[in-house]
Symmetry: C2
Subunit: 205 residues, 2 copies
């Protein structure tokens, strides 16, 4: 297909596609004349992936590039790849700290592995600190409740990995981490709205 | 306390505190002379709340202001307030659409309330579209799995509302939506790292 059709089918402008090409995120089409290039389904899939990360997930361009690089040039160790993928997603952790007392206490009480090199450890530390600062409960029972729900989700998410090739597993881990999060949050918010709308008198709007 | 102590105890700079005052997010301290003002624990709590939203949750200033306004000047209808709070959190939905076919099908199959005025509906639509574009499964079984986990979480989260005053309920809904999300995501990511590190040969790093 021509670049105009790629634009139409992906819902992006030609200028945006040319920008992605210049930035090295999207491969140039195969030249069919001095001014024309031909694009295929691989290009469309790539554009849709970039758009999912940039437009829907709202990631800044530098982070989209990091995630694409993880997929294009995969490290053979899925734990390393997952750590890097998590590092490319918000919340972006500030500072160079060596100790995470809140996260360490939480993780140990939950029976999970405490490794300060895990990218999610400072994220957990900051999340608990923010709850404390807002006077919201982050005690052992509350942590346990959220952790139980997330472990249930994670076990189901990890299961398909055993039947995947390394390449598929990398892509699934990286994109799954980035793109199931918005789904989960949207469903939680919907559940709140459903429960509140259900349990309260008709709205006054 | 003096503003210097407020800065020290909150971990922010005096310049940042003065900026929050100028922006109307933080009340000026009580003047004790022409050049001095006295700050109290209420100020510290407010500063920590702003920092939790801006620094930890990473919200842009305009969104932090929106959330503070929901708490400072609450609408009497919690459903309305919750909708506005959700609208102040990412992902920020683009465009003015009237139909959300993926979200509608998903919500109906899950037995939740479909109301296109719910802010989470376009967020769900976009989340499902992003998964499709990345070739990740967003079929009924997968949706059901995430929805079950989120409904379990949401029911526990909604429960304390019945014992709160309206003001407390508003603050809890708004801040709970904003600040339990990073906790949940950090725990999911930790569960992944824990499960992967556990089930795979020693890392090569």
């Amino acid at each position: 297909m021509r670049i105009s059709e790629l634009a139409e089918r992906s819902g992006l402008t030609i200028a945006t596609l040319k920008f992605y090409i210049r930035e090295g995120m999207l491969q140039r089409g195969e030249a069919t004349s001095a001014t024309r290039a031909e694009y295929g389904d691989d290009h469309l899939a790539r554009v849709q992936l970039i758009s999912a990360l940039a437009d829907v997930r709202g990631l800044p361009l530098t982070k989209v590039k990091q995630i694409l690089a993880l997929i294009d040039d995969p490290d053979p160790d899925p734990v390393v790849v997952l750590g890097r993928a998590i590092g490319a997603l918000p919340p972006y952790v500030q500072g160079d700290r060596a100790e995470f007392p809140r996260a360490q206490a939480a993780i140990e009480s939950l029976g999970l592995t405490y490794d300060p090199a895990f990218t999610a450890v400072p994220q957990l530390e900051d999340a608990i600190r923010a709850l404390e600062h807002a006077n919201l409960d982050a005690g052992p029972d509350t942590l346990r409740r959220y952790a139980d729900a997330m472990c249930t989700v994670a076990v189901d998410e990890i299961a398909p990995l055993s039947e995947m090739s390394l390449e598929e597993a990398i892509s699934y881990s990286v994109l799954g981490t980035a793109l199931y999060e918005p789904l989960m949050l949207a469903l939680r918010r919907l559940a709140h709205q459903h429960l509140l709308a259900d349990g309260l008198p008709p709205r006054v709007t």
